[in-house]
């Protein structure tokens, strides 16, 4: 754990220096950090707990809408609305999971699409709540300690803090009782029960935590975009992107989802001129490569090789 926390600390230090070194590449860095945070949050449920959700855009949307509506209609500062969004996302996750956790494997994934689509329809149609299909605009934001939250630098630091907090959460959980419960339920629910673990309660906790963390990133995303439309925030494609980022990077690993975000956002940027809006092509190709040749994902495969090498060494000595 210490090893991973030190690694995170070093990355954080590099991140803090980043805006001074690359002041013109902040938007893409924000994108990497948000996706790293979302994919890592997703992975708590999808990787560590084995419940593949294709509906996480709902929580991104939830966070963004809380921040935007809170600010534009009630004058509430984003930090309050993000906390509220996290609480609300956890509650939503609880009921969502309560409804769908009797389904297993691909059926659970299908049900998450259905729930997310219903939520998207609500966001589009309930004008009084969300401003409907036209969206909500964030015109003003408070300036805590004189910081302009509309500046890309401030937004970069918010995204950096978000990604760091999520990864730190996973590092701590991976060593703790909860982390073992998550993985046990993923591997074999009966065997987990034999170890005294309540599988449904474990999955619900994972879903709630995953949803709450994702929504906080959603709130930051709302500030970054400043203009929020339901088509963007609740899109099935965003859910798919989040899930694939984690799976390509390596499900159930600490650094996999973040590595996935770096690779996928980076590749998207590299091929931006070639593929233009068709940049999801990269996700399609990479997920096929992963499913066919590296089922554990990039970091998962590296970690497995590392463990085998270590074990081979110990066996020799």
């Amino acid at each position: 754990m210490t090893k991973h926390l030190i690694g995170l600390g070093l990355l954080l230090a590099a991140g803090i220096a980043y805006p001074a070194i690359f002041p013109n590449n902040l938007t893409i860095a924000i994108s990497v950090l948000l996706f790293a945070g979302w994919a890592t949050s997703w992975d708590l449920l999808g990787g560590w707990n084995g419940q593949v959700s294709l509906g996480h855009a709902s929580f991104v949307g939830l966070g963004a809408y809380f921040v935007a509506i809170g600010q534009s209609q009630f004058g509430l500062a984003p930090w309050w609305t993000m906390a509220m969004a996290a609480a609300f996302a956890a509650i939503l996750g609880y009921f969502w999971g309560w409804l769908t956790f009797s389904l297993r494997g691909p059926y659970f994934s299908l049900s998450t699409i259905a729930v997310a689509e219903i939520l998207r329809l609500v966001a589009i149609n309930e004008d009084w709540l969300t401003g409907g299909a036209t969206g909500v605009f964030i015109a003003t934001l408070p300036e805590p300690f004189g910081i302009d939250l509309f500046s890309r630098t401030a937004q970069f630091y918010m995204a950096l803090a978000f990604a760091a907090v999520v990864i730190a959460t996973v590092i701590v959980i991976s060593r703790a009782r909860f982390g073992f419960q998550l993985r046990a339920v993923r591997e074999d629910e009966d065997s987990a029960m034999a170890a005294g673990i309540d599988p449904t309660a474990t999955k619900l906790k994972a879903f709630m935590l995953s949803a709450a963390l994702t929504s906080i990133g959603g709130g930051i995303y709302g500030i970054v975009l400043a203009f929020i439309e339901p088509h963007v925030m609740f899109a099935l494609l965003l859910s798919v992107q989040i899930a694939l980022t984690a799976i390509i990077g390596g499900r159930g690993t600490i650094w996999g989802p973040a590595a996935g975000a770096l690779v996928l956002v980076g590749a998207g940027e590299m091929f931006r001129t070639t593929f233009a809006e068709a940049n999801m092509l990269i996700y399609g190709i990479l997920i096929l490569v992963v499913v066919l040749f590296v089922p554990r994902g990039i970091v998962g495969e590296l970690a497995r090789r590392h463990i085998r090498r270590l074990y081979a060494k110990r066996a020799q000595s």
Binding site: F180, Q181, R183, A192, A195, G196, I197, D198, I307
Partner: protein, 238 residues
């Protein structure tokens, strides 16, 4: 000997089929109860009903004077049940130590304490040198021991062993028999489903024989093996 576990009138039905019909059993601490019978006799079904992994149609189960009928399996584990699975079910992506940690975390919250428990259990079952090996890579005999380690790491008062001897070679079988005996010395009650008669005769204080879901005989190993109905039940199906 005081009763640790008591099951009365256990009946399990699947659709119209009665898999276990009105079977009762009781078990004291430090005691070994053997459950035998031909294939399809309902041993594993009874075993699963008692441990909470299969729903019962009727019957009552008490554990340390507490009625646990209808409690989900994981709650029974928390009260003091430990079990193995007939086809071993390690958490395959986890290492041997991590597998046992999952169970050890039931009684303690701190990682260091859980690790201490897990390592001592691994020492006990003779897997300490395999701690960091992926569970997927273990051979059959070691997977069995890992099952045992997981069952012991929850610090059970009664342990349920489902055909833990099957398929072991003679030296491994001797070791396993000695190991199960050593468990009772710590006051653990043992309920074992077993096909290997050698193990049943040597270990059991008491044996229940099931055939077609009914209890057809009960007594000491010597009594049941000379019982005519038992001999008939075995020969009749073989």
């Amino acid at each position: 000997m005081p009763n640790v576990l008591r099951a009365d009138g256990i009946t399990v039905k699947f659709g119209g089929l009665t898999a276990v019909n009105d079977v009762s059993l009781s078990l004291g601490s430090g005691e070994i109860l053997g459950l035998i019978g031909p294939n399809g006799a309902g041993k594993t079904t009874l075993f699963n009903a008692v441990t909470g992994f299969a729903p019962m149609h009727s019957g009552r189960i008490t554990f340390l004077d507490q009625d646990i009928t209808g409690l989900p399996a994981f709650k029974r584990t928390r009260l003091g049940f430990g079990r193995t699975f007939q086809t071993e079910r390690p958490f395959e992506e986890l290492t041997v130590l991590e597998n046992v940690l999952v169970a050890a975390f039931l009684t303690v919250g701190r990682r260091s304490e859980a690790e201490r428990i897990a390592r001592s259990v691994l020492e006990q079952v003779g897997l300490a040198d395999r701690a960091h090996q992926p569970a997927l890579d273990l051979n059959l005999a070691r997977r069995r021991r890992l099952e045992l380690a997981k069952a012991l790491a929850v610090k059970p008062k009664v342990i349920f062993l489902d055909e833990i001897m099957a398929g072991l070679n003679p030296p491994a079988l001797r070791e396993m028999i000695a190991f199960v005996r050593s468990l009772t010395a710590q006051g653990l009650a043992v309920l074992m489903v077993e096909h290997i008669m050698e193990a049943i005769i040597e270990l059991s204080d008491h044996v229940i024989v099931l055939a077609s879901g009914e209890k057809i005989a009960e007594g000491t190993p010597h009594q049941v093996t000379s019982d005519e109905r038992v001999i008939e039940a075995y020969l009749g199906t073989d």
